[in-house]
């Protein structure tokens, strides 16, 4: 179990480091104008992330060794590299999230435009007068053309008598109705195409909202949706930075390595065996220049030894 926890922490730390390094390097190198500049900025980012991983452990060791200057310098450096990584990570997260949100907004805009056009079409269809089907009208018109009045008025171009005028008025009414029916048919086809297009857009819809997470949190907290969007975007970068610093510290620290499962016997620490203290040897060593005095635990010291 303990090994599993260690592996999980180590795996999480490695993932955080890899993702953070990748994100920061991609973002920072994107600021370069030429490939060389991009490579240099990417290298700076990678070096910064490498330092960010190593410095917490260095700080802890410097504190344990009471090397205050080293601890201070390492802390200063760590703050600086975390700042850089945080800025890069936030930039990457913002650009990624913004592009996704923009895509969703564009999609939603397309749907809204289609819906507006469909409403306009239906409005135009409502303004048309009621008409019978085109075939019916055309058949009736054909029937009118075989009438004697049709030839007498030269196809209703020159009606002279009252009867001819009435006949031609009927023909023109039929023609108007035919045009109305044709327009209605055209509108129907156009509406059908638009409905299909709208359904396709709605079928491919990424979500009802451009940023549903931010929208839901904003609604829950009763704040403007831009605030949770900014916080959520930055939070990803903060988690990455904290993860790649703290998880490394945990992976290298005593919380995992010093833990033993309850019931497991504590390993006996190694106590070095020491040579018995002998006055002649001590005396000789003191005589030699530059020699430090050796260990002075008394073999049999508790029993009167070391005389």
């Amino acid at each position: 179990m303990s090994i599993l926890i260690r592996l999980l922490v180590l795996g999480a730390a490695l993932l955080f480091i890899a993702v953070s390094t990748g994100m920061n390097a991609v973002f920072l190198s994107s600021l370069g104008r030429t490939p060389l500049e991009a490579a240099m900025l990417g290298a700076v980012s990678v070096a910064s992330d490498a330092a960010k991983v190593a410095l917490p452990v260095v700080i802890m060791r410097a504190l344990a060794l009471r090397a205050w200057v080293h601890a201070f310098a390492a802390t200063l450096m760590l703050i600086a590299v975390i700042g850089l990584s945080l800025a890069s990570g936030t930039g990457f997260a913002v650009s990624t999230r913004s592009s996704v949100v923009a895509e969703r907004e564009t999609h939603a805009g397309r749907i809204a435009a289609r819906e507006r056009e469909l409403a306009e079409l239906e409005q135009r269809a409502k303004t048309l007068l009621p008409s019978r089907p085109e075939a019916v009208i055309e058949t009736e018109l054909m029937g009118k053309r075989v009438d004697r009045q049709w030839q007498a008025t030269t196809g209703c171009t020159s009606p002279t008598t009252t009867a001819a005028r009435l006949y031609c008025a009927e023909v023109f009414r039929l023609r108007t109705e035919l045009e109305t029916a044709k327009a209605r048919t055209a509108l129907g086809i156009e509406r059908h195409e638009m409905v299909r297009s709208l359904e396709a857009l709605q079928g491919a819809s990424i979500g009802g909202d451009s940023d549903p997470q931010a929208a839901a949190i904003a609604e829950l907290l009763g704040v403007d949706r831009r605030l949770p969007r900014v916080v959520l975007t930055s939070w990803t970068a903060v988690i990455l930075e904290l993860g790649s610093v703290i998880m490394v510290l945990l992976a290298a620290g005593p919380a995992l390595h010093g833990w033993r499962e309850p019931g497991m016997a504590e390993p006996t620490p190694l106590v070095p065996a020491e040579l018995p203290v002998q006055p002649d040897r001590l005396h000789w060593r003191r005589q030699r220049k530059g020699m430090t005095f050796g260990t002075t635990t008394g073999w049999m010291g508790d029993h009167g030894g070391g005389r």
Partner: protein
């Protein structure tokens, strides 16, 4: 009956030995009191170095040791050996104390062997 007396005597000796410091038990007696009523000063120089370690050396090793003895003037070859052993432990890593018998056990073994040989 005689065996009972021997056992009784042995137990009495063991009880007496237990009262002595380990260094005196190794040397087989408590410090001697001289005729003047003072403790014999020689008994204060007891080192516990009573175990023999026979060695056969290459002549060149012996020659090197002789030069060291002449040059650095260690008080004895034993002191030089102890110094070398300490340097070895520092360089190659210490020996776990738990692997060694206790001082009490070492002394007991020595006394037991000495008693056995005395009986023979």
């Amino acid at each position: 009956m005689a065996e009972d007396d021997e056992d009784e005597e042995r137990k009495r000796q063991e009880r007496e030995r237990k009262k002595l410091p380990l260094i005196d038990r190794l040397h087989g007696s408590s410090p001697r009191i001289t005729a003047s009523g003072f403790e014999d000063l020689r008994s204060k120089r007891r080192t516990g170095r009573i175990v023999q370690l026979p060695l056969r050396l290459h002549p060149r090793v012996r020659a090197i040791i002789d030069i060291i003895m002449e040059r650095d003037k260690p008080p004895s070859l034993v002191v030089l050996f102890e110094d070398m052993l300490e340097a070895y432990l520092e360089k190659r890593g210490p020996v776990d104390k738990s692997l060694l018998p206790s001082d009490e056990e070492l002394v007991r073994r020595y006394e037991q062997e000495r008693d056995n040989r005395d009986d023979e």
